[in-house]
């Protein structure tokens, strides 16, 4: 009897193992066949969370580029397929998402992220696995310093900080000598931008009268804003992301702090105007592109994007589009799409005519390009001026 009891389960296990093996083998065959006529690229993005519009816009921009390349016949006759994973704006989730893209999905290149903190979480994984990663819009210098597989198609914070400082110091709209700063202390993006702004602003003869910090997601800024109000600055530099900036603007105006706020590309979202309402009017930020740019390339992109996604693209959508197109161009230049040769081709990118300006990748794998200053008017960003690099 005991003999029988053992045999039953064993036989079942054997059958199950056999079934699992045959399943696994057919699985292999399937993925093998798809790999031959498709090129997989990955995108990790904050599709939900406090910076959800960042991820959504970027993904929409990339999708548009993917559709275009597929309509034009793909790359080397293969269709491009995009795998997008949500990282919820969380560094741990970003790490998981990139690991999955690289090891499980086996993508040939990774696009993302917007927030520098999240790019910094994903970059080491791409670097280790030899998969090129292009960040469309992370501006912190540290991102591409992770290694020779990490690229970006946007300008970096030393430039952006200097642009903001110059605008605060020299523009007729502000002409400030006294500035206050309110930084998100846990965000590499925010801290990096703050340092560069401070350096440039003081070098131009301005003084920083108050330095305050907050944590992303904070709801109450009255202590910081009361302190800033007491220091009586002419401009308040807030290098944060739009959700926090919206709250800060509301509370600043409630406290009677009427001086303009100034920020970086982290403000770029339709949600900013929605959250802050009239409180954000008369505030400025630096960005990668303006949808009011008359350049036919820009207008053409806006028309196509609006057709596909029923909205006006923000700067992040434009950068997502440019990042994907630069990647496709590099893929087309090389017959083999392995990590090494792709990275080599990417670093040769020069004078690429993108929606966000002429993009050349420098030796540090950063893009050198111009920035625009936008002003919030009736909840919408409007074009003020363009600042060229090295100007």
């Amino acid at each position: 009897m005991t003999h029988f009891r053992f045999q039953g389960p064993r036989r079942i296990i054997a059958v199950m193992v056999a079934a699992a093996m045959s399943l696994a083998m057919t699985g292999c065959q399937e993925s093998g066949s798809t790999a031959s006529d498709e090129i997989l690229i990955g995108h990790f993005a904050s599709l939900t969370g406090s910076e959800a519009t960042f991820g959504q816009s970027t993904d929409n921009g990339i999708k548009l580029a993917v559709d275009e390349i597929n309509e034009a016949g793909g790359i080397h006759g293969k269709k491009v397929r995009l795998v997008t994973l949500d990282d919820k704006g969380d560094a741990r989730e970003a790490g998981t998402a990139v690991t999955r893209l690289v090891t499980k999905d086996g993508v040939v290149a990774v696009l993302g992220e917007v927030a520098s903190k999240l790019s910094l979480a994903g970059a080491p994984i791409c670097q280790e696995n030899g998969v090129p990663m292009i960040s469309p819009s992370s501006t912190n210098p540290k991102v591409t310093k992770v290694g020779d597989m990490i690229f970006r198609v946007c300008f970096i914070d030393p430039f952006q900080g200097a642009v903001c400082a110059r605008f605060a110091r020299e523009s007729d709209r502000i002409k400030a000598t006294k500035a206050a700063i309110l930084t998100d202390q846990a965000s590499p993006y925010s801290v990096g931008l703050q340092e560069e702004f401070e350096k440039a602003f003081t070098a131009m003869g301005g003084t920083i009268v108050s330095k305050q910090t907050y944590n992303a997601g904070d709801q109450d800024f009255s202590a910081q804003l009361t302190a800033i109000r007491g220091a009586d600055p002419e401009v308040v530099f807030v290098p944060g992301y739009y959700t926090d900036v919206g709250n800060i603007a509301i509370q600043a105006r409630t406290l009677g702090l009427t001086k303009p706020l100034l920020g970086g590309d982290g403000w770029d979202s339709v949600k900013l105007g929605e959250i802050a309402g009239a409180n954000i009017n008369g505030c400025f930020y630096s960005n990668h592109y303006s949808h009011e740019d008359p350049n036919p390339k820009v207008q053409d992109f806006i028309r196509k994007y609006a057709e596909r996604h029923k909205q006006t693209p923000d700067g992040l959508a434009a950068l997502g589009y440019d990042a994907a197109r630069i990647l496709f161009e590099a893929m087309q230049r090389t017959p083999n799409v392995d990590g090494k040769s792709l990275a080599a081709e990417l670093s040769k990118t020069s004078g690429f005519e993108g929606v966000t300006g002429k993009i050349s990748i420098d030796a540090e794998r950063n893009a050198v390009k111009s920035a625009v200053i936008l002003e919030m008017k009736d909840g919408n960003p409007t074009y003020v001026s363009t600042i060229q690099p090295g100007e």
Partner: protein, 322 residues
């Protein structure tokens, strides 16, 4: 002087919120001797249901929420507050009935772990697209952004204005009237006597003919209703609504819990006192020392108070019998 007064006003408004939430923690602890970790999620539910109800109500009366500049009539805010209080009351009742009542005779640790489970359940269900979604939203403006009063300190160049916003006053008034109501309920009604009796000794209270289960249910409903009010007032003050599982909500609940402990957990007046103590320490610390450590002040305060008075400010120290 102006900065001091401004900070004081903020501290009072935020203190009222902490006090409201702390009341829920303290009442449940007083009666069941366990910490209801799902309480802070009821606050979140109150905030998000206020958002849902006000969108629904505004649509019903034909007000366009997008680009709305003037707030609707004041009754809209009142209806939204009442609706979300009622809704959270029902949810609180259900949670107690389904999750905690079956564990009435189980060891306290089991209930505690269940509470954490309920908390996680509420957070993650709230994040579903069909419920509230995982993206932050903008609460429609229900109260006018008016300055109720403003004073000016100093003259000429150094003049500083102190602004008392309508929202701050509303928070304080609503919260204190709810707290006074609670005080009346607990200390001057028959229901209150029953609640206090259950909190002293559940078994004896049951022997005296007090329907313990009903008292517990009522306590949960009351705590949830106060939490909903706190959630509503919170989004009135901070109209951009974080997604239901954001860490900021956990921190809010944690601070209110600290308030309840500082005041002496189980003590209704202590919870109110604790709420204000926490808010003052947090706001003045943030203003006069550094905003970097605003959460640290709260927890340092907790340690200091517990060192001197282990039972909390108004609590009585009881020795556990072994």
């Amino acid at each position: 002087m102006s900065d001091f007064t401004q900070t004081l006003i903020t501290a009072i408004a935020i203190g009222s919120l902490y006090a409201l939430i702390a009341l829920g923690y303290t009442m449940v602890y007083g009666i069941l001797k366990f910490i209801n970790f799902a309480h802070s999620d009821i606050v979140v539910l109150g905030a998000w249901s206020s958002y849902t109800f006000s969108n629904w109500l505004l649509k019903l009366i034909g007000v366009e929420t997008k680009g709305m500049t003037t707030p609707p009539a004041i009754w809209v805010a009142v209806v939204v507050l009442v609706l979300s209080m009622a809704f959270c009351g029902v949810v609180g009742f259900t949670i107690e009935r389904l999750a905690y009542r079956p564990l009435r005779r189980a060891p306290r640790l089991n209930v505690l772990i269940t509470a954490i489970g309920v908390s996680l359940l509420l957070q993650n269900v709230g994040q579903l697209d069909q419920v509230f979604g995982a993206s932050p939203q903008k609460m429609p403006q229900l109260l006018p952004a008016a300055e109720l009063a403003s004073f000016t300190f100093g003259e000429g160049e150094s003049a500083r204005k102190v602004v008392i916003g309508l929202v701050d006053v509303m928070i304080f008034v609503t919260a204190s009237s709810l707290m006074l109501l609670m005080q009346y309920l607990v200390f001057h009604t028959k229901q209150g006597v029953a609640m206090r009796a259950v909190s002293y000794n559940t078994d004896t209270a049951a022997l005296m003919g007090i329907p313990v289960d009903r008292v517990v249910s009522i306590t949960f409903v009351l705590g949830s209703v106060l939490a909903a009010a706190a959630g509503f007032l919170y989004v009135m003050k901070y109209p951009s609504l974080n997604q239901p599982a954001h860490t900021i909500w956990v921190l809010l609940g944690l601070k209110a819990f600290v308030a309840a402990v500082i005041g002496g957990i189980g003590n209704v007046r202590g919870a109110v006192l604790g709420g204000f103590v926490i808010a003052f320490v947090e706001q003045f610390g943030a203003f006069y020392i550094s905003t970097n450590y605003r959460d640290v002040y709260v927890f340092v305060m907790l340690i200091l108070i517990l060192l001197v008075r282990p039972g909390g400010l108004l609590g009585v120290t009881t020795r556990e019998k072994v």
